[in-house]
């Protein structure tokens, strides 16, 4: 589904990622750990095609096609979408209108009311997109849009942040539903909380501008909890053969 080869990314001339190699198979859900500022967000933004995340070297291959030069919307139409950590407010654009636009582009007939009801977002349909939404409401609004879009590759940047305990179960269910058997996902998590709600088959750590470790997500999480991120770097250096994609 997605293959990243020796990816180098810069923001305003500052090197953020230097030689990331990584792949996600069809139907696979990968979880990415990493400290604040390690470049996790930059990686998903570069995959989505945000122009300020400049690719200086390497390739992003999606469905067998190099997509480095494609615009955000071209990538979206190919089947990639993203849950932003902090989506902007778009004044005057109502959530209902947005969902209708997405369903029109995706050529999908949907029952907006029913979908919104499932996400406890019915009262938000006629509100301006993200205006005055709480953290959890914002996430639910994003998932309403993503469910309509139904991408083949879902990039989720900290889906659990700002969500209360009650709603995290709901969001976990929505993510699981979004990830049908042929869908893939890359989920960024800082806390690892989301692992309790989503069935992830693989984990990795992004540190020092590179992928440092790939393995079972629960194992990685418990190691990070015990020894911190430095252990991942050390372990990776010691046993580079373990990580084929490193």
């Amino acid at each position: 589904m997605l293959s990243i080869e020796n990816l180098h990314v810069e923001i305003s001339g500052k090197k953020i990622l230097t030689g990331v190699n990584f792949s996600i198979e069809k139907g696979q859900t990968s979880v990415m750990f990493g400290q604040n500022g390690s470049g996790k967000t930059s990686l998903v933004m570069a995959i989505m095609g945000f122009p300020q995340y400049k690719i200086t070297k390497g390739k992003i291959i999606f469905k067998g096609k190099v997509i480095n030069k494609l615009s955000i919307d071209q990538r979206a139409r190919l089947g990639i979408s993203i849950l932003l950590q902090r989506p902007p407010t778009v004044r005057g654009v109502k959530m209902r209108q947005m969902v209708e636009l997405i369903s029109h582009i995706a050529k999908k007939k949907i029952d907006i009311e029913k979908m919104a009801d499932k996400l406890n977002m019915k009262d938000f349909l006629d509100r301006d997109l993200n205006l005055g939404f709480s953290g959890g409401e914002m996430k639910r609004s994003e998932f309403l849009q993503l469910t309509t879009q139904s991408p083949d590759l879902l990039l989720l940047d900290e889906p659990e942040s700002g969500v209360d305990l009650e709603n995290i179960v709901l969001i976990g269910e929505v993510i699981s539903k979004l990830l049908g058997k042929d869908k893939s996902a890359l989920i960024i998590t800082h806390t690892g909380h989301i692992l309790n709600y989503v069935n992830a088959n693989r984990g990795c750590v992004l540190s020092n501008k590179k992928i440092q470790c790939v393995g079972d997500p629960h194992d990685i999480l418990s190691r990070i909890r015990k020894h911190g991120y430095q252990e991942c770097v050390r372990c990776h250096r010691k046993k580079p053969e373990v990580i084929k994609e490193g």
């Binding site: 919307d73 979408s81 989506p87 902007p88 005057g92 654009v93 109502k94 947005m98 997405i102 879009q149």
Partner: protein
């Protein structure tokens, strides 16, 4: 554009009379198209009354509801002697050269009045229509909502498709009595060389409410107005909402002013200004003179192309220690983050910008009834399709 450059006296004053049309469906196809574009429903279904003036001639005036009067103001002044005390009471005759001109020689206009306690079931529609090239149309309108009554008026001003040049001076006086409500929505569809100088004042008594919506999306040469509501009774409310779009060579100077002179009065002024090359001066003035006054002013401007100018001038004037007034203003281009965000959902850059601009000119701020909302939304859509 300065007033001295306009030379209002250079426009023609005289033109032929247009005949009265008892049946609106009998007017010409071309005229009908113009009327529809300013929100007039020629079938008059879902309307409580209609007033149409072409150049200086009132071609249709009718009330469809008991307790509601819709008349030519000239006829009303003859019929009701007491109207004199309202005539030139809210608007000062000596305001400027345009009021002076209207005082000397105004040509008709509408008189709309809801009798005590009468609530109109549907909007009243009005249209002031320029059919002759280079004509100066000047009207004087009077609106009275008697105690406890409710009026909802949609009024459009437009030019015939072949008219490029002309002038419109309109005096409007609103009297909103105790616990009465007037919702007034004005749509301006002028042409490239038309000069427009409305002069409007509203006086709102205790518990009364004046809601004024203004929409100007088509080209205009020079438009300047500063409608003012004075809240003279305790608990009175005024709200002004404007959606403005300036085309290249259009100069729009529009403000709204509310004078809150009694305790517990409230006001809100909201404007959305978009320029595609023209100039918009978006003014707002809240003057609080009494305790427990609450007022807010919000002005947002979007500059779509170079050459466009938006000058926001919000003013707050507090004259009492127990008042609460605030304002926010923002001028800029479309945020890149918003465009990119919508692109992640599959919209291309142009589509995303169109959606954002349309959202920016958010007609939901107008608080219109559903029967008017769709027509206004279509106007915004067609304005956008023509320009983007």
């Amino acid at each position: 554009m300065l007033d001295k450059e306009i030379k209002i006296h250079k426009f023609d004053r005289e033109t032929k009379e247009h005949s009265y049309q008892k049946d609106l469906s009998k007017i010409s196809v071309a005229d009908r198209k113009n009327l529809i574009e300013t929100g007039v429903d020629v079938s008059e279904k879902g309307r409580s009354g209609t007033f149409i003036q072409a150049d200086h001639s009132v071609i249709h005036a009718k009330s469809l509801q008991k307790g509601l009067e819709v008349m030519n103001i000239s006829d009303a002044l003859k019929k009701y002697d007491w109207l004199k005390k309202y005539w030139w009471n809210a608007v000062s005759k000596d305001g400027d050269e345009y009021t002076a001109l209207a005082k000397k020689d105004s040509r008709n206009g509408y008189f709309i009045r809801a009798l005590r306690g009468v609530k109109v079931s549907h909007p009243i529609q009005s249209c002031l229509f320029l059919k002759k090239e280079n004509l100066l149309q000047n009207v004087h309108n009077l609106i009275i909502a008697e105690e406890g009554s409710e009026l909802n008026i949609i009024t459009g001003c437009t030019t015939a498709s072949y008219v490029k040049k002309g002038a419109h001076v309109g005096i409007s006086e609103f009297y909103i009595k105790k616990n009465a409500t007037v919702k007034f929505t004005m749509i301006h569809n002028w042409a490239e060389e038309v000069v427009v100088r409305p002069r409007s004042k509203a006086v709102v008594e205790e518990g009364g409410m004046f809601l004024s919506n203004y929409i100007c999306l088509k080209p205009v040469k020079s438009l300047q107005m500063y409608p003012t509501a004075t809240l003279i009774g305790e608990g009175a409310t005024a709200r002004f909402n404007s959606i403005l779009y300036a085309h290249p060579n259009s100069h729009i100077d529009v403000g709204s002013r509310v004078i809150l002179s009694k305790p517990n009065t409230k006001a809100e002024i909201i404007s959305r200004a978009v320029t595609n090359g023209g100039t918009i001066i978006a003014r707002g003035h809240l003057k609080g003179e009494a305790p427990f006054v609450k007022a807010h002013l919000e002005c947002r401007g979007l500059i779509l192309s170079s050459g466009g100018v938006i000058h926001a001038i919000p003013e707050l004037e507090g004259k009492n220690k127990d008042l609460d007034m605030s304002h926010e203003a923002a001028v800029g281009k479309i945020a890149k983050e918003e465009i990119e965000y919508l692109m992640t959902r599959g919209l291309n850059s142009e589509e995303a910008q169109a959606v954002i601009v349309r959202g920016f000119m958010d007609t939901a701020i107008l608080g219109l009834p559903p029967e008017l909302q769709k027509g206004i939304d279509d106007l915004v859509k067609s304005c956008q399709e023509e320009t983007m």
